[in-house]
């Protein structure tokens, strides 16, 4: 299975005059845990909702696992989705939710669902409305994973959780991935939430994809350069400056370069994923016409 789990081409979504997503082109390889990072309102939810067929795009095409999102029951069965705020039916019990899943999903794994609920220490007869935020998120995740999907999409699953619940949630998510090998796309406005779990990163700022690629590759091709003040333009041609700050004497640059930087006048450092994301966010807010780049 090497076909991309998600392929988008010129994907856009407008609400009247407001653009939520513009010209998004992506190809996500299978078997990855993809982090979709960007500030609130960047279009993360829009992209994910289009991918699971909750929303229809206004332009462009999208293919998820080779099919049109939510086109038919078979396509729905292959994609699990945990929506933002992890909605559940407050008046229904945990058992009711699981029965709902069992009745409506051909690949439903009742044993997996029961085991997860038991492992979480939850009582099946409990009403979903009485659960804590973390427990509700876990119930929503259980509903999504018991479908045994090939792709699991989670929209800000941990944003509203306290640190402990956040950790618990990501633990059980990763345990599922380890066991069943599904691809995962999850979004967050904080890269620190996703740093440990994702191996593929998409940075989305102001409705546009700023960068997308394997985390390892991204870290290996981005550097922080520090040295005497200089014009970023006279760097090596293969080097792209993402963000630069200058004092009267010193320049600090975050750059991308596919070849190692060998310049004795500069101190070259590796950067963290968080620095990398911040650099792209800053670039998006300062430069009017961002260079759209995508690394695969």
């Amino acid at each position: 299975m090497t076909d991309p789990v998600l392929r988008a081409d010129g994907l856009s979504k407008r609400y009247g005059r407001r653009t939520a997503l513009s010209d998004c082109t992506l190809s996500i390889p299978p078997g990855r845990v993809v982090g979709l990072v960007g500030p609130n309102g960047a279009g993360k939810t829009t992209l994910l909702q289009i991918a699971v067929g909750m929303l229809a795009q206004t332009a462009g095409t999208i293919e998820v696992l080779g099919g049109r999102p939510a086109a038919n029951p078979a396509q729905l069965a292959r994609v699990g989705f945990v929506a933002q705020e992890t909605p559940t039916y407050a008046g229904l019990t945990i058992a009711d939710h699981l029965r709902f899943g069992a009745h409506t999903n051909p690949r439903w794994d009742q044993r997996l669902a029961d085991e997860r609920i038991a492992a979480l220490g939850l009582e099946p007869a409990q009403k979903a409305g009485k659960l804590s935020g973390g427990q509700r998120a876990q119930l929503a995740l259980t509903m999504a994973v018991a479908k045994r999907p090939d792709l699991l999409v989670l929209d800000e699953p941990v944003a509203s959780l306290d640190p402990l619940a956040r950790r618990e949630f990501l633990r059980s998510l990763m345990a599922f991935v380890a066991d069943h090998g599904a691809s995962v796309i999850l979004s967050s406005h904080l890269v620190s939430d996703l740093e440990r779990v994702c191996d593929y990163l998409i940075v989305l700022v102001a409705s546009r994809v700023r960068i997308a690629g394997e985390v390892e590759h991204l870290l290996a091709t981005h550097y922080r350069l520090t040295g005497a003040r200089r014009d970023p333009a006279d760097l090596h041609p293969g080097v792209t400056v993402i963000e630069g700050s200058h004092t009267d004497r010193q320049s600090t640059l975050i750059v991308r370069s596919d070849t190692p930087i060998d310049d004795p006048s500069l101190a070259v450092e590796q950067i963290t994923l968080e620095d990398l994301v911040l650099a792209y966010m800053t670039q998006a807010t300062t430069s009017p016409r961002p260079a759209l780049e995508s690394i695969r």
């Binding site: 229809a56 038919n72 029951p73 909605p87 407050a90 409506t104 999903n105 999504a144 479908k147």
Partner: protein
């Protein structure tokens, strides 16, 4: 999906079934006493001139406890479809949109169209059964009273009898679902549903019902010996004459008195026969010599069922249109 819809809808169903059972007991007890009065008044065994017996029965039936039951159940048949629209229709989709649970439901391996269709089928069936049972129970209870008073023609009774309440219920449900889907908030959708339901059901007898089935037309010479209205305005000597000759048990839409040339007769009165110095008799006699005709438009009793079907059909058609829109909206626009 059917199981889940039933699970969500279980409590309203039990409440409704309970309320219907209570009503059935009330109608059974009260119906027993009503049947007693029907026999006691002599209307039951009457074959020839029954006017006195029936008027005595109506007197008994419309006063006291039975009269209250009559008025209450009549009102109930109008209110229940509204309640169906407000409490079953409006929240059906709006509550899911409000709490975001539609995103959970839509990610199960069931298309949105089937999700909506199942919900509508379960709740729709419950609505039809509820409205049908209610109308049948109340109609059977009030059978004698309605016949005694020729009540089918009165607009407020007509809408609470036969199959029309089912049409109202289906319409109210579809209206509630549609408004809930568009407004996306349960309480405002409930309010809007009530307002539009009242408007639709009230406009029916006011403007639409009379035209659902072509009315019958009759014209015959005016019979001055049977005139129910005879008015004479001395200041401008205009007149108004209305004949009392109408078919039994009919809904009279217009009853005009016209001149031989076809104009509505409005005088002028001849002072030679009509006026201060003359009694009404001489004036009426003079009117009889003018060759006036009675021009009658009416719905006969035999049109009761055709009109019931037509009116139900109108409401069901509107409901189908609303629900088709809902399916389209769910597939294309809802998120």
């Amino acid at each position: 999906m059917i199981w889940f819809t039933w699970r969500q809808f279980r409590i309203p169903t039990w409440i409704t079934a309970g309320a219907l059972a209570v009503l059935a007991v009330l109608l059974a007890v009260s119906g027993h006493s009503l049947a007693g009065e029907w026999t006691a008044s002599g209307a039951a065994g009457c074959h020839a001139d029954c006017r006195n017996a029936i008027s005595e029965f109506v007197q008994q039936a419309t006063n006291g406890a039975n009269g209250l039951v009559y008025q209450f159940t009549l009102m109930l048949v109008y209110v229940v479809p509204a309640l169906i629209g407000i409490f079953w229709g409006a929240p059906l989709i709006a509550r899911e949109l409000e709490t975001g649970t539609h995103r959970l439901a839509w990610n199960q391996s069931v298309t949105r169209s089937r999700w909506l269709a199942t919900k509508l089928a379960v709740v729709g069936a419950a609505s039809v059964v509820t409205a049908g049972l209610l109308s049948w129970a109340v109609g059977s209870w009030a059978h004698h009273v309605d016949h005694a008073k020729y009540h089918w023609i009165s607009p407020q009774t007509y809408g609470a009898r036969g199959i029309v309440p089912i049409g109202y219920a289906v319409f109210a449900l579809a209206l509630g679902v549609t408004l809930g889907m568009l407004i996306r908030r349960t309480v405002p959708a409930m309010a809007a549903t009530l307002a539009i339901y009242v408007l639709a059901v009230a406009s029916m007898p006011l403007w639409i019902r009379a035209h659902l089935v072509p009315a019958r037309h009759a014209t015959r010479p005016l019979d001055v010996s049977n005139v129910t209205q005879f008015m004479f305005n001395r200041d401008n000597s205009t007149m108004r004459v209305v004949s009392g000759v109408v078919p039994d048990n009919a809904w009279v839409l217009s009853n005009r008195t016209v001149t031989p040339t076809g104009q509505v007769f409005s005088g002028p009165a001849d002072p030679q026969y009509c006026g201060e110095n003359h009694g009404p008799k001489s004036c009426l006699h003079w009117v009889g010599t003018l060759g006036l005709r009675q021009d009658l438009t009416y719905q006969p009793a035999s049109h009761f069922w055709p009109m019931q079907w037509a009116e139900t059909g109108v409401f069901v058609a509107v409901a189908v249109a609303l629900l088709s829109f809902c399916f389209w909206w769910t597939r294309r626009r809802l998120a």
